[in-house]
């Protein structure tokens, strides 16, 4: 950096001298055009101007040489400085890489440890969750069985009641059927008794009753019909 600032300073000095030179030339020309006595004083002025210019040239040349020297010196310094910087950079870079490698290795080790710990924690949690689930399933299964037993008991009680009721109804219906059957059979027996009596009477009367008795019964029936005004 000191080399660079000296080069810039040299350049600024050269530019300043050149600017002063240009201003002096312009001043001189203006004074020649405006003064009534310009025709008489030109040779001295030119002489002085040339002298000044010559001195300025020499000065500028010195300055240019000095600047060149400075620039060369600056370049050399710059190269040396660059080498130093490169060396320093390499060293710093090596240190940095070493530190980074160490840091990464450390972070990796930490991560591995953390991951291992996480896995262990996860395993513990999994085991715990598994145990909890097993316990929950066992509890739910027990509850389910208890409820099933209760429902089964209720259902069996209800079914038993319904079965008893149905059996009672069947027994009642059966008794009614038996009573009806008994009544019908008794009626049939009664009818059979009457029918047998009628058949017996028919057989006996046909064989035993005489024509006269039969005719007497017919006359008796006709008399009843007359009395009842059946035949009008």
């Amino acid at each position: 950096m000191p080399n660079l600032s000296s080069d810039i300073l040299t350049f600024i000095l050269i530019a300043t001298n050149f600017t002063l030179l240009v201003l002096l030339i312009k001043q001189r020309r203006n004074s020649q055009n405006n003064s009534p006595f310009s025709q008489t004083s030109i040779p001295d002025t030119d002489q002085k101007s040339l002298h000044i210019l010559h001195r300025a040239y020499l000065k500028a040349k010195d300055m240019l040489g000095s600047a060149e020297l400075n620039s060369l010196k600056m370049v050399a310094d710059n190269r040396v400085q660059q080498r130093k910087m490169e060396s320093l950079y390499e060293k710093e870079m090596e240190n940095y890489l070493t530190a980074a490698k160490d840091s990464i290795n450390k972070q990796l080790a930490d991560s591995q440890a953390s991951y291992t710990q996480f896995l262990n924690t996860l395993q513990d949690q999994g085991t715990s969750a598994l145990n909890l689930n097993q316990e929950y399933i066992k509890r739910r299964t027990d509850q389910l069985f208890e409820k099933f037993e209760e429902n089964l008991s209720t259902f069996l009680t209800s079914a038993q009641g319904k079965s008893v009721e149905a059996i009672n109804l069947e027994i009642k219906a059966g008794r009614q059927l038996i009573d009806t059957y008994k009544s019908q059979q008794l009626t049939i027996i009664d009818e059979n008794i009457v029918s047998m009596l009628e058949q017996t009477l028919s057989l006996v009367m046909t064989k035993k009753i005489s024509l006269k008795d039969e005719m007497d019964l017919i006359y008796e029936a006709l008399d009843k019909a007359k009395a009842e005004n059946f035949i009008i």
Binding site: D190, E191, I193, V194, L197, E198, L201, S202, M205, T206, I209, L211, E214, M215, L217, I218, Y219, E220, A221, L222, K224, A225, K226, E228, F230, I231, I232
Partner: protein, 176 residues
């Protein structure tokens, strides 16, 4: 003689010795056959009475002979069918008592029975005998669609509960 009087006279003659509607119609058919034969074969009529018509049964011949020949003179070709149509209608309209009996009544008993009824209900009264062995000791009468059962069977049916009860008293109980 007009046809109405003739048919009335013939009906009386039929009913004199006929007591059932079936016999009356049977007798009328036989009489009609003979009368038609006599009416439409007048030239040969002298010998017809000696031979009974084809449709008349042997049972009807004595009756046909018994009514004499005078009655046939009242028939001619114009009135004969009118008279017999009227006769058939009169017999159909004659009062008829249907009697169901368990035995066949002999003709003599039938005549006596019919005359017994004709004393009260007039000469024009017929019987319709129906043989029914199911009728026990007595008879069932049907008059103008009405039925009256005077048989012993009816009495048994009317008193069946009492009879059954009485008989059951003498029967052993099922449990004993």
């Amino acid at each position: 003689m007009d046809s109405t009087k003739t048919s009335s006279l013939i009906l009386d003659k039929i009913l004199d010795s006929t007591y059932t509607k079936a016999d009356a119609l049977h007798r009328l058919r036989a009489f009609k056959d003979l009368a038609v034969t006599l009416t439409f074969r007048r030239p040969e009529a002298s010998g017809v009475l000696n031979t009974r018509p084809k449709t008349a049964s042997a049972q009807q011949t004595p009756w046909l002979v018994s009514i004499g020949t005078e009655i046939y003179k009242s028939f001619d070709r114009k009135n004969i069918y009118q008279i017999f149509n009227e006769l058939e209608r009169n017999i159909s309209e004659t009062a008829c008592l249907t009697i169901y009996v368990p035995f066949e009544i002999p003709d003599s008993e039938l005549a006596e029975l019919a005359n017994y009824l004709r004393k009260d209900y007039g000469k024009r009264f017929l019987l319709d005998l129906k043989l029914n062995p199911a009728v026990i000791a007595g008879t069932i009468l049907v008059w103008k669609g009405l039925v009256k059962d005077y048989s012993l069977k009816k009495k048994v049916e009317d008193n069946s509960q009492l009879i059954t009860k009485t008989i059951k008293q003498f029967l052993p109980h099922p449990g004993h």
